[in-house]
């Protein structure tokens, strides 16, 4: 018997060892997967803070042999007031006669077609500071017989040599480094206190502590005073912030905090009244009225206010359009942003009603016939069709003229309809899921009081399923917002110097458009690393937009899921 005991003990040890090793191995793999994802998140966000292109800019070095020498720069280095925004362009002009060295400062201003030429004679230069217009040629005239050496000491590289051919294909100007932030706080101290208060209250609501509740208990009966203080603070914050956007948001924070405080105090009173003790913190959530609503509004407010931080920082990147191929840092995504909004809007208008209708038919009306099963299978499979195939569908149906083509051209309308078609199966599936989760009893009780099928659907099923449908639609929209492949096929271009016209496909006009993912794609394809920084910035804007949309969807879903349960 002892031997068997020993054997069992040994095998148990072995088994325990195997068990520990195996489970830790599994946990390790899982953690590596999570780590991988975490690194990805970090890597995508980390490199996208633009520092501008620094380092040595090679100076041009030319001999002037004849009397005329011509140079050209591409982008203004002064702002509208005439102040320099980059290093000044300084030419060092020297010649042998008397070892003369002269410096010439050149300011390129943004107005076009301004000429000012410089003449060189024995006494020196005719002027020391020249202002010339953007994209105009600049001439140096020399009346000397000997060779004049021109060296550029600082500033951007000129784009043309004396024969008029480009010297370098592209170059970087240290200009308009994308995020210009002039020190100081984004939020005023009072606004930060408002946010802190709101966050503090949210934490108390979610995880109440008994000692804090005891402190709150002392405020019972003084709700009016607390409310008055908070409303006064809201007023002060607004006035001190000069009615700016963050101050208004902070005032909203104060008002919400006041509501939450009074609800909390009343809740504590009610809890004590019903014979509970303050130490039973888990009972608190049942005694606060409208707890979920307050929590949802406050989290929405907090998320929204983080979105407004960029408004306080001057970002030409968001407000400028594409300039030209030589000036990456002064280009922006304004046109792309408008394009994205229009495409999404058209996609939403065209796809959401049809998709929800299809979902209602499939869930509420359809009998399990062959047609229904076919439609169901098609929806499931369409959701997995590669996006580029939808693009080709859009190209053949919406863009092309003739045959079954509608001939809208490569316009926003065609892109929006293509995206709508792509979003449709996703929305149908999500809406079906939402409709399926509506309890059977609801429908039956509505039928029981004599409603028709359409009345049941319209008045009872749809309102209950609405949160799920909304969530699905928002998620589908955020997915098509990031899709570039169908639009590449439909014919989006990257070089858009105007705001797009949404209905140009129907009524004529300039049909060209672009969206943010397309901008990222084309900018990444450029050889110049400066454009890559722009692509990174555009990516971060796109991700911010997507995260905002997705978090709204997630918050909505969490909230309503809790309510339904």
């Amino acid at each position: 018997m002892k031997d068997i005991d020993n054997l069992q003990k040994r095998s148990r040890k072995l088994r325990d060892f195997a068990e520990t090793m195996g489970s830790s191995g599994l946990a390790f793999t899982g953690l590596v997967g999570l780590l991988f994802l975490a690194i990805l998140v970090w890597q995508i966000t980390a490199p996208t803070f633009i520092d501008g292109e620094s380092g040595e800019i090679p100076a041009a070095n030319e001999f002037i042999t004849e009397s005329d020498y011509e140079m050209e720069w591409d982008y203004p280095n002064t702002d509208s007031n005439g102040a320099l925004t980059t290093d000044a362009i300084v030419l060092e002009i020297s010649w042998d006669g008397g070892d003369e060295v002269h410096e010439l400062q050149i300011n390129i201003i943004s107005e076009r077609d301004i000429y000012e030429d410089v003449y060189i004679n024995e006494s020196g230069l005719s002027t020391n500071i020249v202002e010339i217009g953007r994209k105009t040629k600049f001439h140096l005239y020399s009346s000397l017989t000997e060779v004049v050496l021109v060296i550029q000491n600082s500033g951007p590289v000129p784009s043309a040599d004396e024969t008029g051919k480009p010297l370098v294909s592209s170059f970087v100007i240290e200009y308009d480094i994308a995020v210009v932030y002039d020190g100081g706080l984004v939020f005023e101290p009072l606004e930060i206190i408002a946010y802190a208060t709101l966050i503090f209250l949210v934490i108390i609501y979610r995880a109440p502590k008994s000692n804090i509740l005891e402190f709150m208990h002392k405020l019972v009966g003084k709700e009016r005073m607390v409310l008055a203080i908070f409303y006064a603070l809201a007023l002060v914050t607004t006035i001190a912030g000069g009615l700016s956007v963050p101050s208004t948001l902070a005032a909203l924070c104060w008002i919400l905090a006041a509501r939450m405080m009074s609800a909390l105090i009343k809740g504590i009173e009610r809890m004590l009244h019903s014979g509970r003790k303050l130490s039973e913190v888990s009972r608190l959530k049942h005694s606060i009225s409208n707890r979920d609503g307050l929590l949802m509004w406050s989290s929405m407010l907090l998320v929204t206010s983080t979105l407004f931080i960029p408004l306080e920082i001057y970002i030409p990147f968001l407000t400028e359009r594409y300039q030209d191929i030589f000036s990456p840092y002064s280009s922006g995504i304004r046109a792309a942003f408008y394009g994205t909004i229009w495409v999404m809007l058209i996609a939403m208008i065209s796809s959401v009603p049809i998709s929800v209708g299809a979902a209602i038919y499939l869930e509420e009306y359809a009998k399990p016939t062959k047609t229904t099963k076919l439609i169901q299978a098609l929806v499931t499979n369409l959701a997995g069709v590669p996006s580029i195939v939808f693009g080709m569908f859009g190209l053949a149906i919406f863009v092309k003229q003739g045959g079954i083509g509608w001939g809208l051209g490569p316009s926003i309308l065609a892109a929006g309809l293509t995206m709508g078609v792509m979003a449709m199966p996703i929305i149908v599936l999500a809406s079906q899921e939402a409709l399926r989760s509506v309890p059977r009893s609801l429908r039956e009780s509505a039928y029981g009081v004599g409603c028709t099928q359409w009345q049941v659907t319209k008045d009872h099923v749809l309102p209950s399923a609405m949160p799920g449908i909304m969530t699905g639609s928002i998620l589908a929209m955020s997915r098509i917002m990031g899709e570039a492949a169908p639009l590449v096929v439909v014919g989006a271009t990257a070089m858009i110097v105007f705001d797009p016209e949404p209905l140009a496909g129907l009524f004529g006009g300039n049909v060209n458009f672009t969206v943010i993912p397309i901008q990222i794609y084309f900018w990444t394809s450029e050889p110049d690393p400066a454009w890559h920084a722009m692509a990174a910035a555009a990516s971060i804007s796109l991700i911010a937009l997507l995260v905002a949309m997705n978090s709204i969807a997630i918050v909505l879903r969490q909230h309503f899921r809790r309510r339904l349960n």
Partner: protein, 437 residues
């Protein structure tokens, strides 16, 4: 009740049906677009090669393959009727159905001989089918006479139907033969420069390299992630990680492409330099390569696999887990021998759907893998996937109807068929496991 009255009484139903009918229209539109333009492509290709001028002639039907198709159809019909065929009494047909044994041997020998005589392989196969169906018919009649149970297996019927469809397709497309063969069998893809050649295999190879490379990365990590989340991780962590996974799955592919282009590419090049220095690859590596694409697509499909597999693991009833633990199994044994077994179809479905997603991935692959179509096993050189070809080709200005424009539809149709097949299998597997619990 007239049709108009029906419309009047069921307005809501009719309108809703029309909305759901649009799904069928969209699918038909996609198939029509791809198919129509692909046929144009093949006919134009055949025409440009001087093989034939396209005209809807069905000359192929009367060829040997066409006759073989007809024979297969007859076999299929005979198989359909086999159970309804009742010959209780002895009739004159018995001489045909039950000849002397040596006649059967001679017929079998003839079957072997005709393979060497006939130049159409499908015809030979058709005669084999006729022989087998003949014997099956005889045995069915025999069984009926002696009151035995007839087997209701439809396997043979389906096989003959399959052969019929193959023969029919081959006889119809016989005139495209050269074009189809060039497209599906050769490996040189060069649609822009003369002499042009359209061998889609070089695109397909890169696509598969990227997709399976992505699976190699994503499956262990994704499934490990799912097991960890559903079996080991504390609920608070799960509550944080699940929405994060959703967010990650929502990050646009072009951003992943940028990420691959800027960050992963140089890392892969360093690895390639090491390989090159050791002489394992014969050409210096490039920033754009399929490994780069495989890594980034792997990261893209990781959230998909993780969240779908986790759903599958969570769908397993708790009784199974508790029962296993109650029998004395350890946690790891429960995980491997019960949970994974029980949710295997869900996990496999997630992998198949992820594969389909990886095959159809466009922007990330375009930016990460490059735009040079080559057929090589060296995965450190720039290559081009099918999706990347489409995206690159339409990026330029192309006149509609030209052969370069038509290629994208042929490639697109091939891609569509591949992903549709994968999706069908994946959804079938998914439905099976959903039914199980």
């Amino acid at each position: 009740m007239s049709f108009l009255e029906y419309l009047k009484n069921n307005r809501a139903r009719v309108i809703l049906f029309l909305t759901s009918f649009s799904v069928i229209l969209i699918t038909l539109g996609i198939i029509q677009t791809l198919l129509f333009e692909s046929i144009n492509f093949f006919s134009e290709l055949a025409e440009s090669r001087g093989w034939f001028t396209f005209d809807w002639d069905l000359a192929g039907i009367t060829s040997g393959t066409g006759i073989a198709a007809a024979i297969f159809l007859l076999v299929y019909i005979a198989e359909l009727l086999i159970t309804k065929f009742t010959i209780e009494q002895e009739t004159k047909l018995d001489i045909i159905l039950f000849p002397k044994q040596f006649v059967i041997y001679i017929a079998a020998a003839l079957l072997v001989v005709q393979f060497f005589v006939l130049d159409t392989l499908l015809m030979g196969v058709a005669f084999v089918f006729v022989f087998i169906t003949w014997r099956r018919l005889a045995s069915a009649v025999n069984k009926q006479r002696y009151g035995m149970q007839l087997s209701d297996s439809t396997l043979w019927r389906n096989i003959s139907l399959g052969f019929f469809l193959i023969a029919l397709a081959k006889s119809i497309t016989m005139n495209y033969g050269g074009a189809l063969g060039e497209f599906f069998l050769t490996t040189n893809w060069n649609p822009a420069l003369k002499p042009v050649s359209f061998g889609v295999n070089s695109l397909l190879l890169t696509t598969l390299q990227v997709a399976f490379g992505a699976l190699i990365i994503a499956v262990p990590l994704g499934v490990g992630c799912a097991i960890y989340l559903s079996e080991y991780a504390p609920p608070r962590l799960v509550a944080v990680v699940k929405p994060t996974l959703e967010l990650l799955a929502g990050i646009p592919s072009v951003v992943y492409g940028f990420f691959a282009f800027i960050y992963i590419g140089p890392l892969v090049v360093e690895l390639g330099e090491y390989f090159y220095a050791n002489g394992w690859i014969d050409e210096p590596p490039n920033v754009l390569n399929p490994i780069n694409g495989a890594i980034v697509v792997g990261v893209m499909i990781l959230p998909l696999i993780a969240s779908m597999s986790e759903d599958a693991l969570r769908a397993v009833p708790n009784e199974l887990r508790e029962g296993s633990l109650a029998l004395g199994a350890t946690k790891i044994e429960t995980t491997f021998k019960v949970m994974i077994q029980a949710s295997l179809s869900g996990i496999i479905a997630s992998i198949i759907l992820a594969l389909s997603r990886a095959v159809g991935e466009t922007m990330a692959v375009t930016l990460a893998v490059g735009t040079v179509a080559v057929f090589t096993a060296n995965m450190f050189l720039p290559a081009q996937t099918m999706t990347a070809y489409i995206a690159q080709r339409v990026g330029g200005d192309l006149p509609f109807g030209e052969i370069g424009y038509l290629t994208i539809f042929a490639v697109g149709l091939y891609l569509f068929v591949i992903t549709l097949t994968l999706n069908l299998i994946g959804n079938r597997v998914l439905a099976a496991y959903r039914e199980a619990y």
